[in-house]
């Protein structure tokens, strides 16, 4: 059976400089399509991919990268903000890997740029008042 899944990979700093995605191709015969990447040496890396291949290979590949220390989660469909709940504190802005949550320097309010959002879900639980909502 062939599967194609969109996933979010979080690399701890020690793994950022290792050729992990290459192994997915070479050892597990998977195809990948990078949807978004944010990788800086010595920092956490975020990679959003579509992975496709045989179900068995896909499962084994996910097991391999998880064991290597990469956090894997399914890409959610949509992230939205509960406007009544958000206090505009700004705790989320350094959680977002793509700059979709930014403080407006004039109003000091947090803008949520829907079009930039890759729905990785990294802002959901760090929000102290749980104003970010995920739809699966």
């Amino acid at each position: 059976m062939i599967v194609a899944r969109k996933i979010v990979l979080r690399f701890p700093p020690r793994l950022v400089e290792q050729p992990i995605i290459y192994r997915l191709v070479k050892d597990y015969d998977l195809q990948f399509n990078i949807l978004k990447a944010s990788v800086t040496p010595n920092e956490e890396g975020i990679l959003v991919l579509e992975l496709s291949g045989k179900k068995k290979d896909y499962d084994e590949a996910v097991r391999f990268i998880t064991n290597a220390g990469v956090e894997v989660q399914a890409l959610v469909k949509d992230v939205s903000r509960l406007e009544d709940r958000c206090t505009h504190c700004g705790a989320c802005v350094t959680m977002c890997p793509v700059g979709a949550l930014v403080v407006d320097t004039q109003t000091k309010r947090v803008d949520f740029l829907n079009t930039k959002c890759i729905a990785c879900g990294l802002c959901i639980k760090p929000c102290p008042v749980r104003a970010m909502e995920v739809r699966l």
């Binding site: 701890p12 206090t87 505009h88 700004g90 705790a91 350094t94 959680m95 102290p128």
Partner: protein
């Protein structure tokens, strides 16, 4: 030029008081000069809106028929345990309390979705809350168990009483370690992937009266969207902290204990809050009016984010091990720019307290005073200042000798 609080109150009651926020006063004094501005301005309003863990509320539930002595028993509001070691139907609910079956950090990092702060927010929003209490039964209080809905209208007193709020300055948190950590300063990414801070800076109450010349016991304040009072100095009040030449603290220093009737507060300014991997708390909105009694008091209110420095502290090692190490100092202006430099590394910054809502609080308080709805009070005693010699103590452990 000096004014008295009575004179200012007279102007407030005539609807003629000149009131500006701690943000607006900065430009005003630049434009007019301190002497002229001190004559014109009567009150400067401040504001802050951030997570404040030493918060809670006490309630008098009223007596059921037959009576139950909850005091010394157990009481839960929406499954969150409240303190019962007081009289029969008085209980205290702390902001960080959480249901006994909450998994905490058993699977790290825990979510901490619901706790005492959330119960308080729901009560203030007018919602019904489940009270479940058990007791041991006495001749005069025979009942052993009660399960009922309560709300703010149905109970006698509901009083917000926060032992430590409105910290005058606070740490900037970073993580020097190599894994993500989950702290009360939010999620901190490894190798200084981010830095978090939590004050309203130039708008914050105690930064505008750094030497506690006007704020004291009995000062009437904006609390949680309603009216409250300063009850005492807050716990960990540390007036002897390092200060600059103007008396502005460069470390965590003064704090306030505050009190007010919960029934007139608003859920917009008392918000149940969750720190992943750390716990539950409540975000509290406070605004303190500063009466401009002299030019000196006015000058203190002109403090800017550029002048206020905060210490950068590593929360992977220095903080948990109570090491005094500070990695450097940054100004709130730098923090608000979105990035700071620490040990030659550019680090993106995030705030845990809402500046925009602090502005909203200072502006609301300003409107209340201008409309004559809120008058100032003369404190019955000022907060302990630098001269008090109060020093913050650690807990130095001593062995308990068993006989």
């Amino acid at each position: 030029m000096t004014k008295t609080i009575a004179e200012i109150n007279e102007k407030i009651s005539r609807g003629q008081a000149v009131v500006v926020t701690a943000e607006e006063v900065i430009d005003l004094v630049k434009k007019k000069g301190a002497a002229k501005a001190a004559q014109e301005v009567d009150v400067v309003t401040t504001g802050t809106f951030g997570p404040m863990c030493s918060s809670g509320a006490y309630f008098n539930l009223g007596h059921s028929k037959p009576r139950i002595k909850i005091g010394g028993g157990q009481a839960y509001l929406n499954d969150v345990p409240a303190y019962t070691g007081i009289a029969a139907v008085d209980i205290f609910l702390g902001a960080t309390a959480m249901p006994e079956d909450d998994p905490r950090n058993r699977i790290h990092p825990g979510d901490f979705n619901y706790g005492g702060g959330h119960v308080i927010e729901e009560l203030v929003a007018g919602k019904d809350v489940r009270l479940v209490a058990t007791a041991y039964g006495t001749d005069c209080y025979p009942r052993r168990k009660i399960e009922t809905l309560i709300n703010l209208k149905s109970i006698n007193e509901a009083v917000l009483f926060n032992m430590r709020n409105a910290y005058q300055n606070y740490n900037v948190a970073v993580n020097l370690g190599d894994r993500t950590i989950y702290t009360y300063m939010g999620v901190l990414k490894p190798h200084m992937g981010n830095a978090t801070y939590s004050t309203a800076g130039q708008l914050s109450p105690l930064f505008n009266d750094p030497l506690y010349k006007t704020i004291g016991i009995g000062t009437r304040i904006f609390l949680g969207g309603g009216i409250g009072y300063v009850a005492w100095h807050g716990t960990q009040h540390n007036p002897g902290a390092l200060r600059n030449e103007k008396g502005v603290p460069k470390r965590g220093a003064g704090t306030l204990a505050v009190i007010g009737d919960l029934k007139q507060m608003k859920p917009r300014y008392l918000v149940g809050t969750s720190f992943i991997g750390y716990g539950c708390t409540m975000t509290v909105g406070i605004g303190v009016p500063i009466p401009i009694l002299s030019e000196e008091i006015l000058l203190h209110t002109t403090v800017t984010d550029e002048e206020i420095l905060a210490p950068i502290v590593d929360y992977s090692e220095a903080y948990p091990q109570r090491k005094p190490d500070v990695l450097g100092e940054v100004s709130y202006a730098q923090l608000r720019s979105g990035k700071i430099k620490v040990q030659d590394k550019e680090v993106p910054t995030a705030s845990l307290s809402s500046y925009s809502r602090a502005v909203e609080i200072a502006s609301t308080l300003k409107e209340w005073i201008k409309k004559g709805q809120f008058t100032l009070t003369q404190p019955v005693a000022l907060l302990p200042g630098v001269e008090s010699g109060i020093k913050l103590k650690g807990l130095e452990e001593r062995p308990i000798n068993k006989v």
